[in-house]
Structure formats: structure tokens, C-alpha cells
Amino acid sequence: MKTQFTAFLKRNLALARLGIVTNLEYRFNFIIDAFIQPILSVGIEVLLWIAIFKTVDATGLIGGFGRDSYLAYAVWAPFLGRIAISWMYESMMVEEVVSGSINTILTRPLSFFEYYLSQTLGYKVITTVFSMTVPIAFSLFFDLPVHYERLPAAFILVVYYILLVHTMSFIVSTLGFYLTRVRSFTLLKNLSLMLLGGELVPIDLMPENLSSILLSLPFSSGVYVPLAFITGRGDWDLLYRGFFNISWGLVVAGILSYFLWNRGVREYTGTGA
């Protein structure tokens, strides 16, 4: 049992390292993905909140929070959003199934889920290490309201959320067993996650009924919950609720992915072999 676990650990560390090495190989893609895209999103959101606050009433508050609180949200949300979403690896997973390159994985003693999860985590670690320097520097420079001591707990929640995001990517990729083109599902899923996760607008600003529904779903745990936690919009209770929501989300997604995978490999024709 111990030997099996050691082998599992070694194998997955090696795959995580592959994720890091492969992505650092394509420097410009990495820089655009980790820095340029989120910085552009930060620019748009910051300008938007500055404009909104010019028209605010005498209290200077929206939803009980001041301008700096929203600027902190705007500076962190796109970076957390990049970490808590899977465009690149999901596209690669879909392509593997649709093109038949998955044959290489299916004939080796490792699972498709594990193979990509380790690489995704490796990539997310390296992205986090590099890209988080930007919102931290911004927050320190402009003295934005951020509870830095809460960052480790918030990142643990984000890593846990990546498990759910990866399981959803796995579900989308299994659709490749049944359909020839699956790209539109990735787009649909990721745009929904951006909206449901509170990356564009803080969930507490949405109509009450909608915000309570969104907070009871696991998708808010990728961006809104950790961000509300580190910017002081939410407390430990909100964080624990985030962990709980991800857990039941994982159970549901796990069951669905198990069913789709097993049926899919039975239908699979091994295209491209």
C-alpha cells in the first residue's frame, strides 16, 4: 500500500513538473496567460469602478463598501479568475479525445483524469507564484484593504476549487467520445463560471434571491468567496461554506464524470490510431 502510494506520488510529481516545464517552454504564451490578460481585465474593471464611484451618493458607499474595497476586488478578481478556470488544459483534454491522441494515455498504466490533473496543478502553481506578485504589489502600493494573513487559507480554497474545475473539464472532454466538436461547451462552461463565480461583479451586489442561490452553489468558491474573504467582505463562515459547496459539487461532478467516461470508452472508436 505504502509502495503504491509512493509510486503514485512520484508519478504525479513528475507530471506536475511536466506541466511546469512545458508551459515555461512557451514563454510568450505563459506571459500573456499569467500577466497580460489579467492586467488588461484589471484595467477595465478599475476604470469601471472609478466611473461608478464618481456618481455615488454622499455616503461614498455601494452595498456597504467604499471605493477602495471595490478597487481591491477589481485588482484581485481577474488574477484569481485566471487560476480558478481551465481554458488551456481543457482544450488539450478535449483535443486528446476528439483526435484520438488519448490512445497513448489509454495504453499506459495511468488515468486520463490523473494525467491532466497533475499537469494542471503544476501549471497553476507556477502561474500563481508569478502572477500573484502583481495584485500583491498593487494592493501594497495603493494601500488597498486586503487581509494578507488570510491569503494562505484563501489559496487552499482555490486549489480545492481547481479539483472541481478539473472534474468539470474532464466531463466536457468525455463529450468528445460522443460528439465531434466540443469547443463550444468549453466556451459556455467558462463564461458561465465567470458569471456564476463573481469574477465580473461581486455576488453580494446582485439581487438578494440570485445572490443567495449563487452562494449556495460551488461556483462562487473559485473567485468570489476567497476574494470576499481576503478583502473583508466575508468572514471564516463564508470560507467554510465555500469548502462545503465545493465538496458536494465534487460528489455530483464525480458521479457524472464516472458515468460519462465509462460509457464513452465503450463507444470509443480509437480514431487516429
Binding site: 484520438g100 470509443y268 480509437g270 490510431a273
Partner: protein, 313 residues
């Protein structure tokens, strides 16, 4: 006798979407799709011993890759049973996967962005191998294939021949007992083809794996195969060895001739006992100005055999 690979009545039917041409039919297909069934493999029976190379030959779409995919566990059969090293392949038990390897000549199986040595290190962990032993094996195999100098160059920077050698090392790293080789020499020059054939010949003698080899180059089959499986329209139509095939096939000689006032060379393939009749017919055809008789080679014999087989179905 215990066989490394045994299959009984294996069959596979693919369901494909069929659509007639035109926009109207595309619109119809949007809500009402018509599917047709195609039999890719039918009642395939085979037995393969350890230490033997089996040449699997057939024209495109004959069913050879489907058979390979079922036996390597990639796809499920529609009918029949198979036993590879005591396992049902499509259950993809990890212990089974650790003992087989599949090499697809038209696909990279090593990682494109890293060096072969890095790929082998990753494979060592995936197959849970002893790192020291695995490293030694890489060097031994690289020595046999004479490619030590490119082991630390990124895969994407290697030539096709070098890449194929790297793929072969990767597929043999975990000492598989069964090896599926799908077009291992495709696109390679003659020198690289020979080098890979010679390597495989030596390797099988030394390590005794069971190998199923498909190739469109009949020289691969003629030089390497102990057993020959000919497959046509999803059915195995010949199971024997190369010598037996050449002895029993009717198509043994080829007469090439040219008639007066013609620039075109024509040929007649016939069996030895038909020689008198063929010459008599030829004399009636006109004045022959050029004539030679050749033995039909293996490739020719295979093509004619498969052509005849597909014509009878």
C-alpha cells in the same frame, strides 16, 4: 500450449452518420440523423506464441488497425473474446498495461517539448520502474539503435527517423511482453527502415516478446514475420507463415512481354503448370518482340491475393 495472445470470433461494428450532399440534407440531418453500421472486423480467430512476430497485412480499411486496437485494449469488441497475457484487454487492468506496448508510427507517444531522456524519466515513474535499471536499458537500446547522440535533444527538433528510434526505446523501456507495432517504418528512408528491422529482429531473439506488426512495406513483413495474417474486408483470410504462403499461392510467375508496334509492356501472372497454355495464348496474340519471365515477389503475391479475396466477397 499457452499463447500470449488468443482471440475467438472477435468482431467490431462501427456506427457512422451518413449524410447526402447539399444544404437541404444538412438541414434534414440537423434533426433527423441517419446512421449506418459498418462491419470493421468479423469472426477473427488467432493464436500467437511468445517470441513470435506476426505480420498483419491488409489494404486500407481492411480491419487490421481495429484488430490491433481491440487487442491492445483501446476499444471494446462488439462480439467475441480475447485473452492477452491472461487479461481481457479492454478492461485495461494496470498490470496488463504494464506488460504491453503499442507503437503507432504516425503518432508521437513521447512528449514533444522535452528531451527523450526526460520522457524516459517520466515513463520510468509512470511504469514504476527501477530508475537505475531503466537508465541502463535506455543506454543499451540507444546503443543498439545507434542514436545515443540525440537522447538529450528535444523531440520536436529530431528527424523522423531519429524520432521513431526514440519512440521505439520508449515503447520498450518497461520490457513489454506483448508489442503492437502499427507502421513502425512509415515515412522512413531505406537506411532507417533497415536499421529498425535489424534492431527488431535482434530484440525479439533476445527478449522473446510477442509482436503484432502492421506495415504497408512488405519488406518489413518478409524480413521479420514468423507468422502471416492476411485480413480482407474485416475477415482473416490467411493464417500461416511467409514461406508457406509463397509455396501455396497459385500466383507464382510473371510473364512480361511487348508486342511489335507497341511501346507498352504487358504482364500475365500464372502458375507453373499453366506455362504451356500461357505461351500458346501469347503466340496467338501477335508478334512478341520482348519477353521475360520473373518470379512473383512477396509484395506482388500479397496484393494479388488480397485483390482476389476482395473480389470474391
Amino acid at each position: 500450449m499457452k499463447y500470449a495472445i488468443e482471440a475467438k470470433n472477435l468482431g467490431r461494428v462501427y456506427k457512422t452518420y451518413s449524410k447526402k450532399e447539399g444544404i437541404i440534407n444538412s438541414l434534414k440531418g440537423f434533426y433527423n440523423r441517419k446512421y449506418t453500421e459498418k462491419v470493421a472486423l468479423k469472426n477473427a480467430n488467432l493464436k500467437i506464441e511468445a517470441g513470435k512476430i506476426v505480420g498483419l497485412v491488409g489494404s486500407n480499411g481492411a480491419g487490421k488497425t481495429t484488430l490491433l486496437k481491440i487487442l491492445s485494449g483501446l476499444i471494446h469488441p462488439s462480439t467475441g473474446t480475447a485473452n492477452v497475457l491472461g487479461y481481457e484487454p479492454w478492461k485495461r487492468d494496470n498490470e496488463f498495461l504494464k506488460q504491453i506496448s503499442i507503437l503507432l508510427g504516425q503518432k508521437n507517444q513521447l512528449w514533444w517539448d522535452i528531451t527523450p531522456l526526460d520522457s524516459y524519466s517520466l515513463l520510468t515513474k509512470i511504469y514504476d520502474l527501477d530508475p537505475v535499471r531503466a537508465k541502463k536499458r535506455v543506454m543499451d537500446l540507444a546503443n543498439l539503435l545507434q542514436c545515443e547522440q540525440v537522447l538529450d535533444t528535444q523531440l520536436r527538433r529530431l528527424s523522423l527517423g531519429e524520432r521513431m528510434k526514440m519512440e521505439i526505446i520508449g515503447s520498450l523501456l518497461h520490457e513489454p511482453k506483448v508489442l503492437f507495432l502499427d507502421e513502425p517504418t512509415i515515412g522512413l528512408d531505406i537506411v532507417a527502415q533497415n536499421s529498425i528491422r535489424n534492431f527488431l529482429e535482434k530484440y525479439v531473439k533476445e527478449f522473446q516478446p510477442a509482436i503484432i506488426l502492421t506495415s504497408h512495406y512488405m519488406d518489413d513483413i518478409a524480413q521479420l514475420a514468423d507468422q502471416l495474417l492476411l485480413i480482407s474486408q474485416g475477415e482473416i483470410v490467411y493464417d500461416g507463415n511467409v514461406e508457406h504462403f509463397m509455396q501455396t499461392t497459385d500466383l507464382k510467375k510473371k510473364l512480361i512481354y511487348r508486342l511489335k508496334n507497341s511501346t507498352e509492356e504487358k504482364e500475365i501472372v500464372f502458375s507453373s503448370q499453366e506455362l504451356t497454355q500461357v505461351l500458346s495464348d501469347l503466340a496467338k496474340a501477335g508478334e512478341v518482340v520482348d519477353l521475360k519471365v520473373e518470379e512473383v515477389d512477396f509484395e506482388d503475391a500479397i496484393h494479388r491475393f488480397l485483390e482476389a479475396e476482395s473480389g470474391t466477397r
